[in-house]
Amino acid sequence: MPSVTAETTRLLLPSRIESVEQAAAAAAEIAERSGLGPDAAYGVDMALREAVGNAVVHGNKKDESKEVTVVFTSSPGVLEIEISDQGQGFDPESVPDPTAGENVMKTSGRGIFFMRTFMDEVSWTRTPAGGTKVRLVKHS
């Protein structure tokens, strides 16, 4: 199994939907180098796509003058990803549980649920500029 010492990769992405695919492609390569198995890599892919999609759509509101920053820090068996936007920030606790009966048939609102489902650790903080930073951690 491939292993590496700690490695950091930083992506600066424009606020458009195509950035989701770009981030996911980078994540796939880094996950493999980190020695994550297929299930863990799938979880990272699911969660990262949701986080970058949220940053582009809800954070930066597709304003292409704003960027989404993705920082991958990998070490053997652990991958940590921070996704930051330049939006107005938000409270993840304000998002209702999408599995509650009244929300099951809603057409949106499952992204954070997927992040929490597929990652070992998920947390949100405000950036110094007031945007949102999501931290995702996956162990192999």
Binding site: I17, E50, G53, V57, P98, K106, T107, S108, R110
Partner: protein
Amino acid sequence: MAELNMKERQAGDVTVLDMDGKITIGDGSVALRSAIKRLLEEGKKKVLLNLAGVGYIDSSGIGELVSSYTSINNAGGQLKLLRLTQKLQDLLTITKLLTVFDVYDSEADALTSYK
């Protein structure tokens, strides 16, 4: 290359969409939405989505499946799902949507169920 390719065929009064690719935020979700809108405009209200070739779906895609189901239901039709991958079945299970959708492994069984 499009994220999601669809082939449409008619089995009696049921329209089958054989889907191949990803249903994700952006092109994939838009393609599904456009296809369902067009089918409803054409009066095709019995729709079977063959998802065997859909290897990846995100929350946007799940939302689009829900939206498709609701649109077709509201028009008096029926949307059913065929041949889910294990990953999609797992996603529908954790989102509590597996019991909402009528899901089949056999196309013959699915087609019979519309009668």
